[in-house]
Symmetry: D2
Subunit: 142 residues, 4 copies
């Protein structure tokens, strides 16, 4: 059963480094923005990648689908809306939208599947309890 | 009707700039590598982005699906296999595999949908004849 | 005569995209951070690169000196202190420090020389009056 | 005593990812290109960053000076000329030029100071013998 667990907003700005010769944001950079929003969600919940890596744990992206709907432009101030869908105790899917709040336009839509791997064995791991607690927040029946 | 029109190989190396703190290639960078291979395919056929832009034409990525199967590592020498599938006279799909030839492993698989837009009107355009000729190469019945 | 005209602070965070396989920030990225702080200084003064480019004007970096003193790390929250030194009506030098406020440590020091060029003639231009006004702020004798 | 020890050439191409909204290469990326050339020099001599890191050793850039002379453009095929100057048994300076061979123009000049650090102690290390041997190549009197 699919459960959309949380909905978060992350604000960011477009700088020169993000653009390409066409004058818009280079397409690969949207994946970076999505990752900033996911990391920010974790920070806010007290989870830090640098702490996980000390336990030989790391989040890895397994699959991404991205629809590039409208180009983001230099000096745009944008919002990423992230909702999380727990697929299993070892796999999560983030549905992410990059929105220009000025025009209420969705510029880019991403579906990013993430799992946690053990950096030694390279194998996927069940999420530890503190992570599961975060991903289940607002889910009284679980 | 789907037509796999061409099959090309592009070689490249992994440098420090491509890696992240986990010791592997940062996931967004695979989209850059795919784009290098597509651009290289165009160069070899005498098509240059900088010439297109003078005519207010530009290729834009409309959609991408990426499966991150195995991590690419620092100092890997990799190959991208690209096959092109013409969906219409205004839309193309590139099926791209990043392969480590040493271990004959597929590290990453991408499906990247591209169209040509007019930079003034921002609207998709039918591919000009010289491009269509290239995308149809090896297609005796067309 | 050298004049240190303004002193500004810009806050930013380190994300996975900024790191490399050594676990620290990749050295080239400090130049991106410096540029974000300079752009932010311009935004706050109502100057936008996208407006300049419509007039065929663009800031270009002519020279940079960077001292990498201590490594920035994943999930660091850092501050860039920027002071501006007008060399002439066509050339500015930004002195920029990346500071970790938690430990009051200077991680990186940059001296970045910038001029404004005409994108058509490719030649340096005298700064327009609105820019000169901003760069002279707090300079009653000019 | 300054000794210019070696002179190497590295070829590379400019892709869309390297450009910015001004239509030229984004300034921070020249540092990436310089690093590719230095890494390539090491590969050719059988030195791999991924082997060094297993011994807790890593090259770090301590200082860089860059003169941006002429803009590199999309689809340029460029050459980096690298000469190495050993400052001591723990510090090296690379003098690097990015050249457009078509017009015999120097686009960018970099002076990059590198040392080897121990990733555990974070302290600079004397270069191991195999590295010193490489850096001293062509130096019969050493």
């Amino acid at each position: 059963m699919k459960k959309h667990i949380q909905h978060r907003e992350f604000l960011f700005d477009i700088y020169i480094e993000d653009t390409d010769f066409q004058g818009f944001v280079y397409h690969a950079n949207y994946l970076k923005f999505f990752e900033r929003a996911r990391s920010n969600f974790l920070f806010e919940n007290g989870i830090f990648h640098k702490e996980l890596v000390k336990k030989n744990l790391a989040f890895v992206v397994k699959r991404a689908e991205i629809d590039f709907l409208l180009p983001a432009k230099l000096e745009d101030s944008l919002v990423i809306q992230t909702s999380i869908e727990k697929k299993s105790n070892a796999r999560m899917v983030f549905n992410q939208l990059i929105v220009n709040p000025e025009h209420e336009q969705v510029l880019c839509r991403g579906v990013v599947e993430v799992c946690l791997i053990n950096l030694i064995t390279k194998k996927p791991q069940i999420f530890p309890n503190d992570l599961l607690l975060i991903f289940n927040k607002g889910e009284p029946n679980e």
